[in-house]
Amino acid sequence: MEKLSDRNNREGIKGWLNPSRYGWERVSYWLQRLTGVGLLAYFVAHIFETSSLTQGPDAWAAMLELTQTPLGHLILLLVIGMSTFHSVNGIRLIFTQGGKGLGNPGRPDYPYDAVSLNYRQKSGIWIALILAGVAMLYGASVLFGGE
């Protein structure tokens, strides 16, 4: 049973919201959570959106009128970026959390740079961000390119 005093001085959700203090891995943690929640919200909305099919072509057309707008396309673009980042970073995290790509324990020496926060990890995060950007650019060309 938790005691009330245990909560005293806990950073709470504020501790999640300030990702810039501790480096790229913390930013990745924050983005992975944020994109996950965002994608879940989109998934629920998408299930609702497609359910209008069952009410016939008119209901489908009405739904398209609501979603196929510049704002709707911008949201879709954000979803493309979020899903790319979440997927690529997620694959990196599966390896990392299984102890792969982190380096081996050794004898730390001053200035004690942590081997787990290495450039393999950081470049994984950067690649996820770059790929998300590229996917968004491609998405924009499809959604706004008038194909």
Partner: protein, 109 residues
Amino acid sequence: MKIHYVTGLGALFVVAVHIMMRLIMPYELSLEYENVIANYHNIPYVILLESILVLIAIHGFNGLRVILLELRQSKAWEDGVTILTIAAMMGIVAYGTRTIIIANGLGFE
């Protein structure tokens, strides 16, 4: 945690196929009612859609459950979060499956 990894990788694969299938024709055309309904008449595609539904629902709601479990720690909260997320997951899968079944039975205009 293994279920989170497996559903995540599975979802990535099926969503990739779903998007590729959408890109075989121009975007606007792929949204036309007849074309969308035609997808629901294609059984392999229906299986793909159902897999997306199940995999993302498990992955997404399990992720939400983890976030909520980390927020507060009491038996009532933890049990409540687990029950609610499982109920929401089942609800979404049921609602999505309903769309797939009805759309599969719909004819072309």
